[in-house]
Symmetry: C2
Subunit: 205 residues, 2 copies
């Protein structure tokens, strides 16, 4: 350790992490993704259309991001990747999926990183039709639709939309309207009250 | 009929409805109410403070409006009076209160008069804390809280807030995010899906 420290003092110190030019390219791609998602919607935007908008080769976009979803997470500065959320919700007994969904979603939104993001998304959805469409496609397609499909009951789209209605309303009442006692209730108080609703939407015949 | 029509032709035609000066006063009161509700919140604003803001005698406010609620209905141009909504929801068997609540609320929001109002309220709540507080106090105090209290189960405030979470989320998914199939579903399709949720929030032990 001491030797290598001495070495680095005599030789030029190697760069650590990404090179500035790489950072710049990544930031350009993320900015292009943000505007592509907003103008085309989540479904229609592609890795290719984002590369074109950023003025870079599609392979370069793939160098930084494995999937369109990863790009969305970076563009929207989401505090958690949908894959992690979905994995946590699906991992466990089927008759407690409602409980896990409410707990993990609410946990993310309640976190200091999650709250400003979800509020910004809600605000932009309410004031811009484009943003509403983008959020709608992401929430139902990339998150709730996948959960509902994995549960393997009829009408996964209707189930996903009903879950969305309860969960977005919960954000609205807890963080926007701040209606008591929901606004100040703990996660442990809210989960048993809301879990049966989500459970029914996902698994009831 | 013919005689009186003849009479009115020979004599000056009497004014019909409110006199213009009355209309002006009423409009001044309504405008003052709107700004009082926004700045003080629904709970803190009073008939008296609204009269003061309008620069008129409190008795004049009472001449046009029976209650603060009536003033709120006029100020927000609500398509239905909360009293009518509450009466309809409470009138019938207790085990179908969820069904009636979903049907009547959704019916109002889906109507051509209701939709722009509810969207305007949601938009202003999302972008202004004052508006959010005003809406919160009105929705829970003047509507859902009264319904929950009438049902006479423990924790009426928590029940009202949970109903608010499902119903505001439904507005959000149906009219703002427009998530299918909820966005295009008929009232008759949605009511049986959502009614058990509201029923449980209001009457479950």
């Amino acid at each position: 350790m001491t030797t290598s420290a001495d070495d680095s003092e005599s030789a030029p110190r190697p760069r650590r992490g990404r090179r500035p030019s790489g950072e710049d390219t990544r930031a350009t791609v993320v900015a292009a993704a943000r505007s592509e998602f907003a103008s085309r919607g989540y479904e229609t935007a592609t890795m290719r259309s984002i590369a074109r908008a950023a003025g870079v080769d599609a392979r370069l976009v793939h160098h930084y991001f494995d999937s369109k979803e990863d790009l969305f997470v970076a563009a929207m500065e989401l505090p958690i990747h949908p894959n992690d959320l979905i994995e946590k919700v699906l991992d466990g007994p089927r008759d407690r999926i409602g409980e896990r969904l409410v707990r993990f979603f609410l946990g993310v939104w309640d976190s200091p990183e999650g709250r400003p993001v979800i509020l910004a998304l809600v605000r932009s959805a309410v004031s811009h039709d484009d943003a509403a469409q983008m959020l709608q496609q992401f929430v139902t397609g990339a998150i709730l639709g996948r959960i509902a499909s994995a549960v393997d009951t009829p009408d996964p789209q209707m189930r996903a939309a009903l879950v969305a209605s309860q969960m977005t309303g919960l954000v609205f009442v807890r963080h926007v309207l701040k209606i008591e006692p929901v606004a100040s209730a703990s996660l442990d108080e809210l989960v048993p009250l809301l879990a049966p609703t989500v459970q029914r939407y996902l698994t009831a015949p």
